[in-house]
């Protein structure tokens, strides 16, 4: 593996398609909010935001081209953050 070159330029079309998907998902999340589904709203908003974030991560930020090391790093950070939230809420849920 040649580490002295970087950049994994995808065809421009891939970026445009990603952008399109992001815009569509934005419209979707906005639409759901207009429907006023009460308790589902926050959950749906977070789910869609997670999908949008992943799209940016994998396509715009080229994570899908990176070596496994990056995946391990994401996992470490993601799990730790999830644990921070989870353990904090152990307190709040049981108060």
């Amino acid at each position: 593996m040649d580490s002295n070159t970087s950049g994994h330029a995808d065809p421009y079309g891939v970026y445009v398609a990603t952008w399109g998907a992001l815009m569509a998902l934005t419209a979707l999340t906005f639409g759901i909010a207009l429907l006023d589904l009460k308790h589902v709203t926050v959950l749906a908003a977070l789910l869609i935001a997670a999908v949008k974030g992943s799209l940016v991560l994998f396509y715009f930020m080229h994570v899908r081209h990176e070596r496994p090391l990056f995946l391990y790093m994401f996992l470490a950070v993601g799990i730790t953050y999830a644990v921070f939230i989870g353990l904090t809420f152990v307190d709040y849920w049981s108060r």
Partner: protein, 215 residues
């Protein structure tokens, strides 16, 4: 481990041997580690948001309904588009299309500026209605709404600050391209600029629905 196979600068360095140490992968790892700190920075604020959303559900919904969701939507579109142009810039640079890369960066800057203008309008609108920390209108509200607006100003303010920093980095990247310090064969600086900008975008992707759409 994959990195141990990677070429590195471990060869002996002889006297008067000037080694130009360029390690894009190392730079990218460093950048990602930095981005993790940004994620956790906002992450802590999101934890605070989650805790208070649970505690003050009604007030948060009320506060959210009061925000201008169309301006929020507009800004989301603007920032997503700026991410697209940023991705264009990196891709163009990798292909050696320097002029196109500069153009894409300029577009990104423009969208960033639009985002900030809209944001400023939105804040100004709130201020003119007496909604700012410690205002009399604010102090009359239920505490839950005060907390909502506290987090709103703190989090969107911090995010706007990141947009401004991102724009400064983009300007520096453009300058480095013009001075041929960023070249098609060594453009990790531009790539890292892109990573930063996209991260700022991702953070907004989460901020937008949580503040504007829970009403």
């Amino acid at each position: 481990m994959t990195e141990s196979q990677a070429t590195m600068t471990a060869e002996p360095v002889h006297a008067a041997d000037h080694v130009d140490h360029y390690d894009p992968l190392g730079a990218k790892i460093g950048m990602w580690l930095f981005l993790f700190t940004e994620v956790l920075l906002f992450g802590a604020m999101f934890i605070a948001f989650a805790v208070y959303l649970r505690q003050y559900r009604i007030e948060f919904m009320g506060g959210s309904r009061e925000l201008d969701r169309y301006l929020g939507l507009l800004n989301t579109a603007v920032l997503l588009t700026s991410s697209l142009t940023m991705a264009f810039a990196v891709a163009a640079m990798a292909r050696g299309q320097t002029r196109r890369a500069i153009g894409a960066l300029a577009a990104t800057l423009l969208f960033g500026a639009v985002f900030l203008v809209v944001k400023a309008r939105e804040w100004g609108y709130k201020f003119s209605h007496g909604i700012y920390p410690q205002s009399e209108t604010m102090l009359d509200r239920p505490v839950g709404e005060q907390v909502f607006y506290g987090l709103y100003f703190a989090m969107t303010g911090l995010h706007a600050l990141h947009v401004i920093i991102g724009m400064a980095i983009i300007v520096s990247a453009a300058a480095l391209i013009l001075r041929r310090r960023i070249r098609p064969d060594r453009h990790i600086y531009l790539e890292n600029t892109g990573l930063y900008w996209h991260l700022v975008d991702i953070i907004w992707i989460f901020l937008f629905p949580l503040f504007y759409l829970i009403g």
